[in-house]
Symmetry: D3
Subunit: 237 residues, 6 copies
Amino acid sequence: MSDTEIFEIFRALSTATITTVLLKKGLRNVWMRGPQPLQAVDQRYVGKAFTLRFVPAREDLATPASWASPLSTRAAIEDMPVGAIAVVDAMGVRDAGIFGDILCARMVKRGVAALITDGVMRDVAGVLGTGLPVFASGVAAPPSVAGLTFVGWQEPISCGGVAIFPSDLIVADRDGAVVVPKDLVAEIAREAPDQEALEAWIMDEVHSGAPLPGLYPPNAENKARFEMSRAQRRRSH
Amino acid sequence: MSDTEIFEIFRALSTATITTVLLKKGLRNVWMRGPQPLQAVDQRYVGKAFTLRFVPAREDLATPASWASPLSTRAAIEDMPVGAIAVVDAMGVRDAGIFGDILCARMVKRGVAALITDGVMRDVAGVLGTGLPVFASGVAAPPSVAGLTFVGWQEPISCGGVAIFPSDLIVADRDGAVVVPKDLVAEIAREAPDQEALEAWIMDEVHSGAPLPGLYPPNAENKARFEMSRAQRRRSH
Amino acid sequence: MSDTEIFEIFRALSTATITTVLLKKGLRNVWMRGPQPLQAVDQRYVGKAFTLRFVPAREDLATPASWASPLSTRAAIEDMPVGAIAVVDAMGVRDAGIFGDILCARMVKRGVAALITDGVMRDVAGVLGTGLPVFASGVAAPPSVAGLTFVGWQEPISCGGVAIFPSDLIVADRDGAVVVPKDLVAEIAREAPDQEALEAWIMDEVHSGAPLPGLYPPNAENKARFEMSRAQRRRSH
Amino acid sequence: MSDTEIFEIFRALSTATITTVLLKKGLRNVWMRGPQPLQAVDQRYVGKAFTLRFVPAREDLATPASWASPLSTRAAIEDMPVGAIAVVDAMGVRDAGIFGDILCARMVKRGVAALITDGVMRDVAGVLGTGLPVFASGVAAPPSVAGLTFVGWQEPISCGGVAIFPSDLIVADRDGAVVVPKDLVAEIAREAPDQEALEAWIMDEVHSGAPLPGLYPPNAENKARFEMSRAQRRRSH
Amino acid sequence: MSDTEIFEIFRALSTATITTVLLKKGLRNVWMRGPQPLQAVDQRYVGKAFTLRFVPAREDLATPASWASPLSTRAAIEDMPVGAIAVVDAMGVRDAGIFGDILCARMVKRGVAALITDGVMRDVAGVLGTGLPVFASGVAAPPSVAGLTFVGWQEPISCGGVAIFPSDLIVADRDGAVVVPKDLVAEIAREAPDQEALEAWIMDEVHSGAPLPGLYPPNAENKARFEMSRAQRRRSH
Amino acid sequence: MSDTEIFEIFRALSTATITTVLLKKGLRNVWMRGPQPLQAVDQRYVGKAFTLRFVPAREDLATPASWASPLSTRAAIEDMPVGAIAVVDAMGVRDAGIFGDILCARMVKRGVAALITDGVMRDVAGVLGTGLPVFASGVAAPPSVAGLTFVGWQEPISCGGVAIFPSDLIVADRDGAVVVPKDLVAEIAREAPDQEALEAWIMDEVHSGAPLPGLYPPNAENKARFEMSRAQRRRSH
């Protein structure tokens, strides 16, 4: 499958369904604690992780002057490819905003798909004005250097208690953001749509008044009924 | 008083007033920390507590297979009476959703009045679509078994740092959810409307420009004025 | 500068810009953790801090009877001058509401500009109904005495991990609330508008497609271009 | 009773017993969270509270220069009477030590009985060398001004989530530190020794093999046996 | 294997080794957060879990009078079999001691092997005097009813974020306490001694100066050397 | 100055004094939150930081098999130079031990001076047996892979909320561990001994009964007295 096809499939999969399928493969820790949408969200964002990493502020390092350094958030942004999802390890720090309106506006210009962080944003009115989809732990006025020192990009990071490696797949919707490890992307793309279809059929049954035991998860009889309904639906297309 | 009459009275009492009256009887710990409405709330929900209890996930127990067990959340839901308020002890765990759209849809079918938890919901878009009033600590994509093992229902539980027993009265509004211990329900139903009326009268006085000292709480003179105004209002009906 | 002039200048400065300018002077800890607007905010609130202080509840002190004491929140409110911003140290306690609708209504009557607290409000529907701008850490039903004992006003306090002294300047907007120490107010009023103008010019450049390095912060060339553009704008007025 | 007599009585009462007796009078929140003995403790410390209060550090205020101000911890220490127990509100801050060896040595010189804080100490080796009994939340190297601004003494404070007023009685032992509100001191001094004697008698019964139900708390029969044993003991003296 | 044989095996296995072997079977969450030995520990405690459960205090329930109820901690203790390890779910509450000297003394009389809790103990001097091995989260003076309501025993519980069921095996040493689910006990008893022996052999190699890569975990060559050394040791016995 | 001379100087400087001197240069955030000595400490450890970095566990990465990877803690240890202080970023995770006895024994063999981490150790009895000086946040039985994925060494890290870069100087004593940024080492080595000498002189004055105001910090008169006493002491050598 091409990246485009894969992204298409994941845009139809809720993060809830993705976590269910990953759990069945033994992965329980894939949902990032903290990042919540700052704007109303009625779609799903899918892209490859472009990682950024902060360590705590140290007054000799975390200064406005550091913003001009070649090793700065500015340089990292200029390195982001079109369609990337920026994932920022701010160690959950909630009293210094990692980015404001200017950096977000530049990310939009570069075609970045979304920004995910366990930290917070500053100048939230300006940030929302840029149209960049942002999933963060909240809002704070102070600049990043009040609490954070930027140290690099495209390294393995922690975001919200989850390990993220560059090029892992990120999916974000109203339930927040999850990682699909890059080696599992194709497998999940094949299997998860079945789970999504099953749950949709179960929801229909519940609306028809069916009780839960034997239905969710389905016993043999209900599995058969689901498969039949699915076959019929396919035939009718 | 019948349950219907009691519920009617409590629907007119804010959770703020209920906590004031309970505090005067020595109960300070009746408001659950965590549960906040996930949807816009412009009414009050009243019902008897139907409790559910989780312990932490253990990988040998908390599996998708466990959902088919007779001791499952599914069985608990099928046991909920019409008008109940489900109160779920998730130990404040915020990285695994206790229920998603399917379980909530079934609760609506069974006539459950509301769901209260110190945990979080998953598939929040789907959950809101069912119309079930939900008071929770937030949202997370992963399924319950990623962090929780279900162990039973209609037992004493902790919810948000408050002890809840089956059949205690639960009242929830924009300020969150409070418990009225079942042995105190009749007493509060008799006394709290007076507090509510007094505070409404004080609010009118404030709007007329009265200063607070002597008014809130009222001194003897203001108490007398309140009683007179109340008597006049009754006469005029 | 008169207070009125100073307030006017600060109403045009975002809290994000103010924290940047204060950081350049060595002040990193000026943004209060916790206070977030309870209502939609599309303006900025500026005023002098009027402080209130709570300590934890002790059952012999924190009683409804204490509300009638001369050392009560009621007396403190009657002492608030027009235009003040009340800043309340509730030690970050989130399970007892410091004020409800009646006290907020009285503050509106007295011309208080806004209320900031690291604690929470009760009867949020009623509070919002009064129109008082409130920045708080959330909402809880129980009265203050369930968790707090009021001990005084116009003392130095902690609010959200920040030291606030009476008459410090407070500015609050969608990013929350910051303090400008009273001895630094005039200096910030002189310098911050430059920072605001520079950032607006940089935002225009980003919209025109300029990359970040050399722009933000500006190198010598871009600084010169900004100064020129500013001079032109002034001439054209 | 004189202070000396009262102190004598409390030195024979464990903090566990004191909290039991206070709870029976409706006071549940009297034990300070955080303060633990830094040194081996095999006695009990009793004295009147002398309070000190910090707010968070602000870089314009919390400087080494501030240590020379008349409103400094140094001045507060010079104001402490012999036998006082210093109780320091550090808001639970654990990354800046409130005092080191020099201030503790001076407190010993002034006859201070003990130091209690919800903050931490610095230079712990030096502090222990002074012999001052210290109950604190731990140890940190940085000076107070790295995280704290001192604002005054002999005010009402919070220490470890408990309200402390100047001249309240403080008792500290291996279980930590509790407050006895000054208006309750005489009452507790009269009643608590009975509780202590009863528990000692129950402990003897347990050592003799008695089961707990009916013994702890004692039923009527065991209460009678305890009273008899007590009367015998008194007679035999 | 008899219980006695199994207990014998586990007394020779460190909790560190047990968690390694359980992790290889997919169980990552078996070590209880909080319980640490209150006394010096130079042996290992092994026994079957006897569970107790608390919910938060509610002033109408959590009273000294409740201690006389048939549903009390006293009754639970009288139900504990010889050799049991009491595991107490106190929801991590650290400001009310679950048990003091009297209850611990009775547990010793009944032959209880150890007490594990995510809560804290009171009257620590008295508790240590009873000789009961205790693993707890610390010490607090107030009685359990200041923060907790006891609700039952021999139910599934949470202790330190781990699910514990009655009759699971508990092992505790200086690293704290772990659970071995009862269905896995025999399997771990068979497999873990190999892991322990391997690690002892590796430690010898390290003492002889061997570098870590290829040694820990062992490559094929080192595995063979370990097996040979083990065979020799067996022959020589 | 040579490294040996610098190390010698720092071994005579308490971490308390170092933080005071760094604060006077504007650095407030240099003491690591969490690391405390696991063994009795009566000396000071000084060395250059050798950093290691973990991110959270992900079940596809954090496996016992990963311990054989070239990018493992084992390889990192083999890269540590004699005299280094290993500083390990475990993100403050307290339920998985970063190292046990085997890795610590190997570090001793390689001449590592000490180990500092904001995480915890496992098999604490074994670790203490190796004699490696360890400063950690506590103890837990589970292996690192139960909660952590190792990702690299000699990178900038966070440890206990402090930024640490490879080759920064680390000093650890009973108050915990501090960083001296490498560019400031020489400056601190020159200036801090004066602070240490001044504080020793002040301590003597306190022992002689001098009050604190004017002494600590010293006014002009006391500064002169200190300088004189210092000059005399030098002459007498």
